[in-house]
């Protein structure tokens, strides 16, 4: 296993843990100051200036999103979702020492809220920038399996 792969895996696992544990502000801190966080809707690829998304956020909006959830008044997360997710099928596009690398990973999150269990899966595409021996997220795009479904409540972190 390469050192780069080790580093990437560690980073993705940490991100997953922060999301699973609803640690909103720490999670938001993983993102670079200049970033884009995108969850497409209906279809996987389109011009987001012309089609709606489930989320299309720069760093400001992402912080606002995290602060709103963190405040405890977002009632769709009161009570909060309890979750654990598996991150796998990791593919890395880049080499040790690159300023920026591309990463793809699949995830499956098992979520329980108010005694109902749901499973959500998807594939995430990242652009990670090196910082102090680890990374920050410059770009994350999440293509959900349920990209075009009527969903009851997906207000937890993805």
């Amino acid at each position: 296993m390469s050192a780069l792969r080790d580093k990437v895996e560690n980073f993705l696992y940490k991100e997953a843990r922060l999301m699973d544990e609803n640690r909103y502000l720490e999670w938001a801190g993983l993102y670079a100051d200049e970033c884009l966080y995108w969850i497409p809707c209906n279809e996987e690829d389109y011009d987001p200036a012309k089609h709606v998304s489930m989320l299309y956020a720069d760093n400001n909006l992402l912080k606002s999103h995290a602060l709103r959830l963190n405040e405890g008044k977002a009632f769709a997360q009161q009570p909060k979702s309890r979750m654990r997710r598996i991150v796998s099928n990791i593919e890395i596009d880049g080499d040790e020492g690159d300023e920026e690398i591309g990463v793809f990973a699949n995830f499956t999150v098992t979520e329980i809220r108010k005694h109902e269990q749901r499973v959500h899966s998807g594939r995430s595409e990242y652009k990670l920038v090196s910082e102090n021996g680890s990374f920050r997220i410059k770009y994350k795009k999440i293509n959900l399996v349920s990209i075009d479904e009527a969903q009851d409540n997906v207000t937890f972190l993805l």
Binding site: C41, E43, L55, L67, K73, A76
Partner: protein, 431 residues
């Protein structure tokens, strides 16, 4: 009293002027009767013309529980067709939307054109010489009509026309929404966010025009605004100039005209928009299209926030459709719209503003949905089955068009919906 499934349902005992019995959200027999009376006789929203712009375009929709295809034929005319093969009932359209030259039933191969005509039957000779294919075209609702691109269907041959159903005060609100476009047309062409909940469809209907809940249900959203602007908006306070209105026929709206016209922040925002080249162009084009006075009013009012009974909500940037599935299951499709002829910057801004509140990860709508689920849980307590819709009853006024008006936190709008619901459910008709 009216009959439903051979059993008497006493609607007078379920809907009072100031309160509603919890059974109206729960009972299967009432739901069944709603499907017959409201969704199979009255006008039901199917889709917007702009969703199927080109010949061959289609999308799936519903008339209550019945699946339909909203399609545009070769000549460019739109149709509402039941998604049911006239041979042995298989659904013929499987995709939610797309473009096609025809609908082939894959069970035994019957082929229908996009206007519903039965075009081909395999091995047709077995049906004999007198077989008349033209009697087996796809079935369709007897009446289909539109207002400003919003297409409705009715299963009743007779009854109020769509113009009578959506009367002046309701049309005025739709006009505010569409006139934001310099060409007077909205385009429902930028996708849909979709949600579902364990609860009755009328909970969404009541909530869309509920001016009482935002400062409570949406605390987290208003906190976000406060973090950015330094203050919470006063639009939904108990002393706001905003109103709720019962427009008749079950149509209702939250009318923020008076509030917006008096709010210096709205004026400031419009002035700021004109500092950009695209904002200036949009303003100029709107003045060109509607005249200065109307254009400025349309921009100040900023669209509408309304329900067209029973299943269409038009608000903010969006066109929303309610799909009842069962007494305790509902889907809602929310489609942001674009303004035809407006600069791209304006339309992209509309999409982003929509997402901020209404998308699955946005800051608002899922707090509403959480409340629908909570109401549904509470409804299981039958010790006191009444839901109180009394707020502001004593101070309601009626204008010259017969529109009932209350302060925006009043329940005038829900009372209007329930009054109409009861009328429809009690109509003397043969089901």
């Amino acid at each position: 009293m009216a009959t439903g499934n051979g059993r008497l349902i006493d609607y007078d005992a379920l809907v009072r002027e100031d309160a509603v019995h919890g059974d109206v959200y729960l009972r299967q027999d009432i739901f069944d009767e709603e499907m017959k009376r409201i969704y199979q006789r009255g006008w039901v929203y199917i889709g917007h013309q702009s969703e199927i712009p080109d010949p061959g375009d289609f999308k799936r929709s519903w008339l209550g529980l019945q699946p339909v295809i909203f399609s545009r034929d070769k000549a460019g005319k739109y149709h509402v067709l039941f998604n049911r093969c006239t041979h042995r009932a298989a659904s013929i359209c499987q995709e939610d939307w797309g473009n096609t030259t025809g609908f082939r039933c894959e069970y035994h191969g019957w082929l229908f054109r996009t206007d519903g005509e039965l075009a081909a039957v395999p091995y047709a000779d077995a049906y004999g010489d007198n077989f008349d294919k033209s009697r087996l075209n796809l079935r369709r609702p007897p009446r289909v009509d539109e207002y400003r691109g919003f297409v409705f269907a009715s299963m009743s041959e007779t009854g109020l026309s769509l113009t009578e159903h959506i009367s002046g005060p309701a049309r005025e609100q739709i006009d505010y929404f569409c006139d934001l476009s310099p060409e007077g047309e909205i385009l429902v062409q930028c996708g849909a966010t979709k949600l579902a909940y364990d609860g009755n469809w009328k909970l969404q209907m009541e909530n869309t025009i509920d001016g009482y809940h935002p400062n409570f249900t949406h605390q987290s959203f208003f906190s976000s605004i406060e973090r950015i602007t330094g203050s919470k908006p006063g639009i939904f306070k108990g002393d706001s100039l905003s109103e709720v209105r019962d427009l008749g026929m079950g149509h209702t709206n939250i009318d923020t005209r008076a509030y917006n016209r008096a709010d210096p922040a709205v004026k400031a925002r419009l002035d700021m928009m004109q500092q950009t080249s695209w904002g200036k162009k949009y303003y100029d084009d709107l003045v060109e299209a509607h005249g200065k006075e109307r254009a400025e009013d349309v921009l100040t009012v900023g669209g509408t926030h309304m329900n067209i009974f029973p299943n269409l909500c038009v608000l903010g940037q969006q066109v929303r459709t309610i799909r009842p599935i069962s007494p305790d299951r509902t889907e809602v499709f929310l489609r942001p719209s674009l303004l035809k002829g407006a600069p791209d910057e304006i339309n992209t801004m509309r999409i982003r503003q929509y997402e901020a509140f209404y998308s699955p990860h946005g800051g608002g709508i899922h707090d509403d949905v959480e409340m629908f689920n909570r109401v549904s849980e509470g409804l299981r307590c039958t010790i006191d089955p009444w839901l109180i819709f009394q707020r502001g009853l004593h101070r309601e006024t009626v204008d010259e068009d017969g529109v009932r008006i209350g302060q925006c936190t009043d329940e005038t709008s829900q009372r209007g919906q329930w009054r109409h619901w009861k009328t429809v459910m009690q109509e003397e008709i043969n089901l």
